[in-house]
Symmetry: C2
Subunit: 225 residues, 2 copies
């Protein structure tokens, strides 16, 4: 029942791939975890024996329902700790991801329950990502990357990738944060960049294709959440 840090990291990486709608292939996992594909194959076999994955050689993997449950518990811990670091310890949001990567592996249940209560049972982390509840139920986000937002449709930033500290620094610098309202004025197919208008700013700003892929927005009209 207690999983190693390595096992947990694999489970979380696979969960993230799945939740992004991607196929959890050996290479994709190896990129995310910065290990060699051969190492991934070994671990996939191990996790399959523990009934956490469905795996067939050369065919990638999916989480079993047990695997999903465990992954969601890890994600919950990660996001609660991120919330703690930002709200209580006043860390700038772009510094918290790496620390939370370490804290998330401490799995004492009453620690997490108390932390959750202490934070006031937050629904999302500082990046806007939803925090799974104790039972592993997570509010699915109806979010789209900024890169697919139609021009002139008002939207609000709901989440940003928390994987890249440089990204977070850039956003902080430009004072772009969760909740910022915006719309796309014009998109340039030459390089995928876009001109966007941030609500309450006079100057419009230009965002690159990479940046548009890393910012996720909710459109205002359909009332999810």
């Amino acid at each position: 029942m207690p999983y190693t840090t390595a096992e947990e990291n694999y489970l979380k990486a696979i969960w993230k791939l799945e939740s992004e709608g991607l196929h959890a292939s050996t290479n994709a996992i190896s990129e995310r975890l910065k290990t060699r594909p051969a190492s991934v194959t070994d671990m996939l076999k191990k996790l399959t024996e523990k009934k956490l994955l469905h795996y067939q050689s050369h065919r990638g993997v999916q989480l079993t329902s047990e695997g999903k449950k465990i992954s969601l518990a890890i994600v919950r811990r990660h996001r609660l700790w991120e919330s703690f670091l930002v709200e209580k310890l006043q860390f700038p949001w772009h510094e918290v991801h790496d620390i939370a990567e370490e804290l998330e592996h401490i799995s004492n249940p009453s620690l997490i329950e108390r932390l959750d209560r202490y934070l006031g049972q937050p629904k999302t982390d500082p990046h806007g990502d939803p925090i799974p509840d104790k039972e592993g139920i997570i509010k699915e986000q109806r979010q789209i990357p900024l890169s697919t937002l139609p021009a002139n449709q008002p939207a609000r930033i709901a989440a940003v990738s928390d994987r890249n500290s440089d990204l977070l620094e850039l956003l902080t610098h430009k004072k772009i944060q969760i909740g910022t309202e915006l719309k796309v004025l014009k998109r340039f197919s030459f390089d995928g960049s876009a001109e966007i208008q941030l609500k309450g700013r006079t100057q419009k700003i230009t965002v690159s294709a990479q940046l548009s892929d890393s910012i996720f927005v909710k459109t205002e009209n359909h009332a999810d959440n």
Copy 2:
């Protein structure tokens, strides 16, 4: 510069032995860490190569000044987290040691600095043990075990061993805590037990020899601290 969890555990165990005035022998370390003596020998060699220990075969070890510095940083982290768990998350004090054993290995310096500030730069942890400062300076305690306190000398509980959760549970149950004032009324050489009087209680209570060894007191007269 980054040490493994195993290495840190050895350093801390050795530091504790030294700070209790004991000889850090292979067997003593192996008992504290619940590993076999052969494993200890291996690790002592490794830490010696890293210049954290002075070690001569069959002669036990001492920490080098670098080793001491690292140990104190670990102890600082441990005790700060214990404070957090009790003061902020409202854990009963006897549950925090094991969790802090995990948290202490996360060594991000700005995390610890912020945690310290958040807690109001506490001087002691919930068990009464002093917290080393950022530079590794620790306030030496002039404390004696209750078992050596002369009869009828008033004293105040300054610390208890945090290693044993059963002990802490017992103390909590009997409402004995840091700061509790007491004196020994009578000691029985038959079994080392003692009758003690707690200030503000009508009933005197009996403590076993083991318990007297695990409670550390300061006498009121000499103004240390």
